[in-house]
Symmetry: C2
Subunit: 208 residues, 2 copies
Amino acid sequence: MQSRTPAARSGRPRSTAADTAILAATRAALVELGWSKLTLQDVATRAGVAKTTLYRRWAGKNELVVDAVAELFDELRLPDLGSLAADIEGVVLQFAAILARPEAKSGLMAVVAESTRDDALRERIRCSIVERQKRLVLEGRARAQTRGELPAEPDPEQAARTADLIFDVVAGAVVHRTLVSAEPADGEWVRSFTRVLLVGLAGAEQDS
Amino acid sequence: MQSRTPAARSGRPRSTAADTAILAATRAALVELGWSKLTLQDVATRAGVAKTTLYRRWAGKNELVVDAVAELFDELRLPDLGSLAADIEGVVLQFAAILARPEAKSGLMAVVAESTRDDALRERIRCSIVERQKRLVLEGRARAQTRGELPAEPDPEQAARTADLIFDVVAGAVVHRTLVSAEPADGEWVRSFTRVLLVGLAGAEQDS
DNA sequence: GCGTTTTCGATACGACCCGTAGCGTAATGG
DNA sequence: CCATTACGCTACGGGTCGTATCGAAAACGC
């Protein structure tokens, strides 16, 4: 019952170099071709592997692109700039910079669209992309509470709800600005947005 | 030079019944099959028309789905519930109800994803879907100003920027909540969101 | 009525991609 | 050395795409 690392079997191990080459080739293909014209045959040729190698590791185009795009969000860090406002602006600017890249634009929205009819895909996106972003919200709030910028929340359930709300507002606004309005989420926009968000949160907490 | 209604030519006119049947069939196919498995042949069969008739009116799957989804947003109205907060809550709830429908979920995000590499498609989405939503923001602000709930903005450029910001925040948050977090934007969520938004706007306006 | 013009339905077609199967070879562990 | 697994390569049936072609149908001007 050694369920952990079931790759402890014998035989030829899978090439980790192929994995990274395939994911990099997927992002390159997303940049040049976009989601709809991306074919697995093309990705395999770019990565220098056979098409069958792709199907051995991913169920299809959806799962492959999720993993390829997820790596883009690995570089997301919560900066420590001294104040909650500056921290939020910093992380939002990072998020906007990633979303401005063409491989993220064409890939992310497409797999989200597919996930509306594929629960397993939605769960994959949630674990490898969304949850990683959401943790930044929790970290930022914890840091602001130690700084004394935010009061400690007594009700954990209410705290979770507001964290979800903040996350949807922040991520949704940046995505909508970048992809739908098709205008850059630059420093000026981020400053205006952060101000509205912080004032709203501070004011909405006290009443009710 | 009768550029208006160039359909003043002779010959057999296009069947308007076919148009409505095709768009309805597209939405039905979106519900049953989703975006990726939707084929134009299937839509044509459902609508009782030939596939060539589809290609005579739409360039492809993208444009067809944009038009089919755009009709869903025609029912969007700005209610007059007496206060700015209630009006916002009302229109956000309508918006959330449309986004909760499966044909909107699978169709809208997919065409937005495609629009990242197709400027003409993005413009089509902007005109037939986005601009119609954005007008509600402007109407709501104008009504709130006549009520005295919001001050008249002296700088028109600044007013346009804040309107864009509000629109991205509202639409983005609802879309993210519905499609990414996959949780309903119900009355409780809308109330919390509206409170944060209104407090943030009122507070952020006075300073700077 | 009659010819012109345009649309419509039906069918067929080449091109492309999908996902899988088969096979021989290569690389590990026991 | 042998079992086991991964890999590259090729080939295949099935499906969709977008277009072309044809005859029939429906409107218009005369």
